[in-house]
């Protein structure tokens, strides 16, 4: 079978990591790997979970079984659902979402994420991002969230983010009495990360072929590196078959 793309690897790693008692998995815009993970889990380990993706809830996509992952979140085919996700009402039910996914322009040692952009220090912008969508709200409330970083370099993994869109710092979250459980796991093209008891980023595993030196050189701060760092267990043939033939039938993640 053809080697998995990075987004296919992300989808499989996310699908494996959901907790047994996750009841509601919610996916935002421009994260097709998270959509695929939610659907994969729904047809295997989490048949009773409520999957909310953009416009629709459960039975998403084009009416297929399972539904397909389309390139765009807000696709009319996602309305072949058993319920709809109303943008004006979704924030009225903040006890519900157990799992959410976020991406960003920058992440820092404490797990804070920036999707605003980089200010120029004079009230303007050196680089402007798309805005923070619902990152601040969802990261404050959901039982746990996953960070997926599409690139890993000293520009994207920084000691302190320029601006905080989603507050990851566990100490600050506790001080501000945020109800949600915080970050569960962080994925990058180089490896899998989590946060140690002090709240600093820790290397959990490295993807096949990646060296510790590469990870450290691409990271703009000192990572917590355990004595032994395993290789990220890659997707099995069964996982890839399920992903490509039943979940991502349009090849959005390829």
């Amino acid at each position: 079978m053809e080697k998995p793309s990075i987004n296919e690897l992300f989808a499989v790693l996310l699908a494996r990591d959901f907790h047994a008692d996750d009841r509601t998995i919610m996916v935002g815009a421009n994260m097709p790997m998270a959509r695929a993970a939610a659907v994969m889990a729904n047809v295997t380990t989490h048949p009773d979970a409520r999957i909310s993706i953009g416009l629709g809830v459960q039975g998403l996509g084009d009416g297929g079984d399972p539904p397909a992952v389309h390139p765009f979140l807000f696709d009319p085919r996602t309305m072949a659902a058993e319920a709809l996700m109303f943008q004006g009402r979704v924030f009225d039910d903040m006890h519900s979402p157990d799992v959410f996914f976020v991406g960003g322009l920058q992440v820092d040692q404490r797990g804070n994420l920036n999707l605003f952009g980089i200010p120029d220090g004079e009230g303007g912008w050196k680089m402007r991002g798309p805005g923070s969508i619902a990152l601040a709200t969802m990261s404050a409330y959901c039982a746990g969230y996953y960070i997926v970083m599409p690139s890993h370099s000293t520009r994207t993994f920084v000691e302190r983010v320029a601006l905080i869109s989603a507050l990851g710092d566990a100490t600050e979250r506790a001080r501000l009495k945020l109800p949600g459980g915080g970050i569960r796991m962080l994925l990058s093209p180089l490896g899998v990360f989590d946060f140690n008891d002090a709240g600093d980023m820790r290397l959990r595993s490295m993807h096949e072929g990646v060296t510790l030196e590469e990870v450290q050189e691409a990271t703009g701060f000192e990572l917590d590196v355990p004595d032994r760092v395993p290789v990220t267990p890659g997707p099995t043939d069964e996982e890839m078959q399920l992903l490509r033939e039943r979940v991502d039938v349009y090849g959005t993640l390829a």
């Binding site: 807000f74 009319p76 085919r77 943008q87 303007g124 805005g131 619902a134 979250r173």
Partner: protein, 292 residues
């Protein structure tokens, strides 16, 4: 006393958008790649109105087009982009980086709270998401406070009152009883926050048809209804997918520089005199290929 008939809300597009004056605060409905009232937006860009504050809760190229046409001085919202085609709206990005346009950052839930507060006639609504983030620093209208009930840190989200809301619904009757397709995004909130609502529809139907699903009806007194079939293109409605290729072409034009962007605007926005003429620039084969 004599019997009287009801007044029609049906309006030609240019008459409908004449309520948008220079310096107005305009809310635009839809979300990401779905349900933006693009026919109204293109007409607005064509008219050359200036100095707008555009409230786009989760915006797409309707924001880019209005900026490119020189209509905008301020953008309020949580996102402007085109999902996988462009992580950031290309014109939006360059206009903000050059300082030509100001951005007022809100979380998506802040948009809901701000519009709801306006509709409810309240000065603000409280919200928790955004506490401990850069929001209050970037957008000083958001005020941190300790809630008087449980003493927890919260943000006051001030009401956003709109002069005009431009939204899309699949159908309406001639009296302004509109029925959105699907979830309707934040459109109903935008309508309730606005002094004047303009609704773009694909079809004008009889009131008998509206009466079959009265629970779907949204209505504001004095709203204007504009018929513009397929008028959400290049974005989806309930039975047409987004036109990914058109969006890719737009992004290429926007990133290509002033000349290619001007050419896109000339061909697709400024020269077509109405929605039908715009659809001719897209072509019937392309439109047909998008129907689900």
């Amino acid at each position: 006393m004599s019997l009287a008939g009801r007044s029609s809300s049906l309006t030609e597009v240019d008459d409908a958008i004449s309520c948008v004056v220079d310096g107005a605060t305009v809310g635009i409905g839809g979300a990401v790649t779905a349900g933006h009232p693009m026919a109204l937006v293109r007409a607005l860009a064509r008219r050359g109105v200036r100095d707008l504050t555009v409230v786009a809760p989760t915006g797409g190229i309707e924001v880019d087009l209005l900026i490119a046409a020189g209509c905008v001085s301020r953008i309020v919202g949580s996102y402007v982009g085109i999902e996988a085609v462009a992580g950031v709206g290309p014109v939006y990005r360059s206009a903000i980086e050059s300082g030509r346009v100001e951005v007022v950052d809100l979380d998506e839930a802040h948009c809901v709270a701000a519009l709801r507060a306006a509709g409810q006639g309240l000065p603000f609504l409280p919200w928790r998401g955004g506490v401990g983030t850069a929001f209050p620093q970037l957008n000083p209208t958001l005020i941190e406070f300790d809630d008087p009930v449980r003493g927890e840190p919260l943000l006051a989200i001030p009401a956003i009152e709109l002069d005009v809301a431009l939204i899309y619904a699949e159908v309406s009757d001639c009296y302004g009883n509109a029925q959105p397709v699907g979830t309707g995004h934040m459109d109903a909130l935008l309508g309730s926050a606005a002094k004047q609502v303009v609704i773009q529809v694909d079809r004008v139907v009889s009131t008998e048809e509206i009466r079959r699903n009265p629970e779907k009806t949204i209505y504001w007194p004095g709203s204007k209804v504009v018929k513009a079939p397929f008028g959400t293109h290049p974005y989806s409605n309930g039975w047409m997918t987004s036109d990914e290729q058109h969006l890719v072409d737009f992004v290429a034009a926007a990133k290509g520089g002033d000349e290619t962007l001007s050419e896109y605007l000339r061909v697709h926005v400024l020269e077509p005199e109405d929605n039908d003429a715009y659809l001719e620039t897209v072509g019937i084969r392309r439109i047909s290929s998008l129907l689900i």
